[in-house]
């Protein structure tokens, strides 16, 4: 991995005595696309605002490029933020909005003009110079907000749920736009979202947060395939999240039925949580399954069917391209490497942070 650019060291922050971030540690590397992912109110925006300089942490330090910038005001930081509701200046034309930062830095008119056309070109809004922000659609305003930030050539771009207000189709288009932009500009993106699909699509690194704690940090594949606890497993995509017993290495029991797995080192007869992704559940004939169950629900979802199966009172969700009729008896099998074993939360604190349902 490339050079560390930003370090958040032991960051804590409370509002009115209510802790919002607790001893947060995070390293962001040069050229990385980092996504802070978590439910609403978990402290994502607060973390971003501390990075941008709009909040001062109660404790801890923000290190940027080796220098402590904890108390440096926003206008002196080499990063730019794209705000959740765009925050375009309503009384200025699009050109003036984009030129705002450059004029403050007293760039020449020629330089500013070139930058405006470059940025508008980059976000696909050529010819919008004279328009007013109010006359633009949400998606267009979003692009202008990004253009306004990137003309300043920041080392880092902070984005707070930038696609949150857009409709699904536009959001998907913009996701690809943003990835393209990032590759073209070669800068670091710190991205905030509560949408797990968005995080999985766009990021190099996902930081899953809950109640001011980092739950897990890793590549999208790691986060999806190897969640470290029940919260992460539950938050990232649909999943079968069951309590189980870790009998011994490579063997677990779910509701008293043995399943082979590949995990080791959880002790013997230890209570654990396990997660099985719906697409990893194999539906077979009753005699070939590890367990049997009855189909209770069948929903067509476009790419696949979602099938709910009742196994001795526990509901398993599976995704399959083949339909199974409601009421039929089926067998269920799972490949050992598709069962992800996780520690049960130990302390009460951890419990509160992990299982919030």
């Amino acid at each position: 991995m490339s050079r560390a650019l930003i370090e958040l060291q032991h960051i804590s922050k409370s509002y009115d005595g209510k802790p919002v971030l607790d001893d947060l540690e995070l390293t962001i590397h040069e050229n990385e696309f980092v996504t802070l992912l978590g439910p609403s109110g978990c402290g994502k925006t607060t973390t971003l605002r501390i990075l941008g300089g709009f909040e001062t942490p109660d404790e801890g330090h923000v290190i940027f490029d080796g220098k402590d910038i904890t108390n440096v005001p926003p206008n002196k930081r080499q990063l730019n933020m794209v705000f959740q509701n765009y925050a375009l200046f309503p009384h200025m034309t699009i050109a003036d909005n984009i030129a705002f930062g450059l004029k403050i830095k007293r760039k020449t008119d020629k330089y500013i003009q070139d930058k405006i056309s470059y940025a508008l070109n980059l976000v696909g809004l050529q010819g919008f110079e004279k328009r007013m922000p109010g006359s633009l659609s949400g998606g267009q305003q979003q692009r202008i907000a990004i253009a306004r930030a990137i003309v300043n050539e920041p080392h880092v771009l902070l984005l707070d749920e930038p696609l949150g207000a857009l409709d699904l189709k536009l959001r998907q288009d913009m996701q690809y736009e943003l990835i393209r932009l990032k590759n073209e500009l070669g800068i670091t993106f710190v991205y905030v979202t509560h949408d797990q699909q968005e995080a999985l699509t766009m990021s190099d690194t996902i930081v899953v947060m809950n109640q001011g704690y980092i739950q897990q940090m890793g590549s999208p594949e790691t986060i999806y395939n190897e969640p470290e606890n029940a919260f992460v497993a539950d938050f990232i995509g649909d999943s079968n999240l069951f309590p189980a017993t870790f009998v011994r290495d490579e063997l677990i029991e779910i509701d008293g039925r043995p399943f082979l797995c590949v995990d080791k080192g959880f002790g013997q007869n230890t209570p654990v949580d396990i997660v099985i992704r719906p697409e990893d559940v194999i539906i077979t004939t009753p005699d070939k399954g590890t367990v049997t169950g009855v189909v209770t629900d069948l929903i067509f979802q476009g790419v696949h069917y979602e099938i709910c199966i009742d196994v001795n009172g526990r509901e398993w969700v599976c995704h399959s391209t083949e339909a199974s009729l409601v009421g039929t008896m089926v067998g269920i099998a799972v490949d050992p490497f598709n069962i992800q074993v996780m520690n049960k939360p130990e302390s009460e604190d951890e419990e509160a942070a992990a299982i919030e349902k």
């Binding site: 941008g52 709009f54 005001p73 926003p74 206008n75 730019n80 933020m81 705000f83 959740q84 509701n85 765009y86 925050a87 375009l88 200046f89 309503p90 009384h91 705002f100 930062g101 403050i104 830095k105 306004r148 930030a149 300043n152």
Partner: protein, 266 residues
């Protein structure tokens, strides 16, 4: 059915207008009446207006009024804008409390404000005169400025101040570049309203002024006590028209301002 309803409505409005404006129309007509006796129409004349402009003590009161209105409005705009900024940054609860407190001088009966201010000035031994009147006008003007600016803050898109800072502007530069242009219509209408209120005021001025300092309203009052001269009709007509024009300007300068003007005017 609908038509009669509408006609009745129109009649109602017409009646209101007649009741409200008949005295003023009378006043204006009298100001052009050549006869000194009010009961008789002696022909059209602008003589009273000429007299008025040659009356030095009235012209002095006129200058006083204008200077007072401009100064008190200007000072109130500066203080009121600063107050509105602070209020806008507060959380909802304390903001409502403080707004309530700043509104009191506006809602209070003028006579109470006037007497209270006079008491204060005499207690601390300040010479009553221009200074005390100016202070008093600033006092009752500030809430009008605040009330005109506050809605502008509410309509401000969130985070534009921070966005300006993010793009490199210092705190003061950010304010003047992105916040001030947005609240400017409120500042202007607040200033205009303060100016109007200052011209319009009699009671508070009357209680807080000392001998020798007169505004038009206290001057008129003094003159009327000695017996009404037709010049006073002319003067009152001019004041009425000036205030009317100001109110029309105000009501054009923004929808929020308009609502307030209506309340104040009625």
């Amino acid at each position: 059915m609908k038509k009669t309803k509408r006609n009745l409505g129109n009649l109602y409005i017409a009646l209101i207008f007649i009741f409200m404006y008949a005295p003023i129309v009378m006043l204006i007509i009298q100001s052009f009446n050549a006869s000194k006796s009010r009961g008789r129409w002696g022909g059209f004349t602008t003589f009273w207006y000429q007299e008025l402009f040659q009356n030095e003590s009235i012209m002095e009161a006129f200058t006083n009024t204008i200077i007072l209105a401009i100064l008190s409005a200007a000072i109130a705009v500066v203080i009121g804008t600063a107050a509105a900024i602070a209020l806008a940054r507060m959380k909802k609860r304390p903001r409502q409390t403080w707004l309530g407190i700043t509104n009191i001088p506006m809602l209070n009966a003028d006579i109470v404000t006037g007497v209270a201010l006079m008491l204060l000035f005499t207690t601390v031994n300040v010479q009553l005169g221009f200074g005390t009147v100016l202070l008093s006008h600033v006092t009752f003007n500030i809430p009008y400025v605040i009330l005109n600016i506050m809605p502008r803050f509410r309509e401000l898109p969130p985070h534009i101040y921070e966005a300006a800072q993010d793009l490199g502007a210092g705190p003061i530069e950010a304010f003047f570049k992105v916040i001030f242009p947005e609240i400017l219509p409120g500042v202007i209408s607040g200033g205009l309203m303060a100016f109007t209120m200052s011209i319009d005021d009699f009671i508070i001025t009357y209680f807080t002024t000392g001998s020798g300092y007169n505004t038009l309203s206290t001057k008129i009052y003094a003159e009327v006590k000695l017996g009404i001269k037709p010049e006073i009709y002319a003067l009152s007509s001019i004041i009425f028209v000036t205030v009317l024009i100001l109110l029309i300007l105000l009501s054009r300068s923004g929808s929020k301002g308009r609502k307030m003007v209506k309340e104040v005017a009625l």
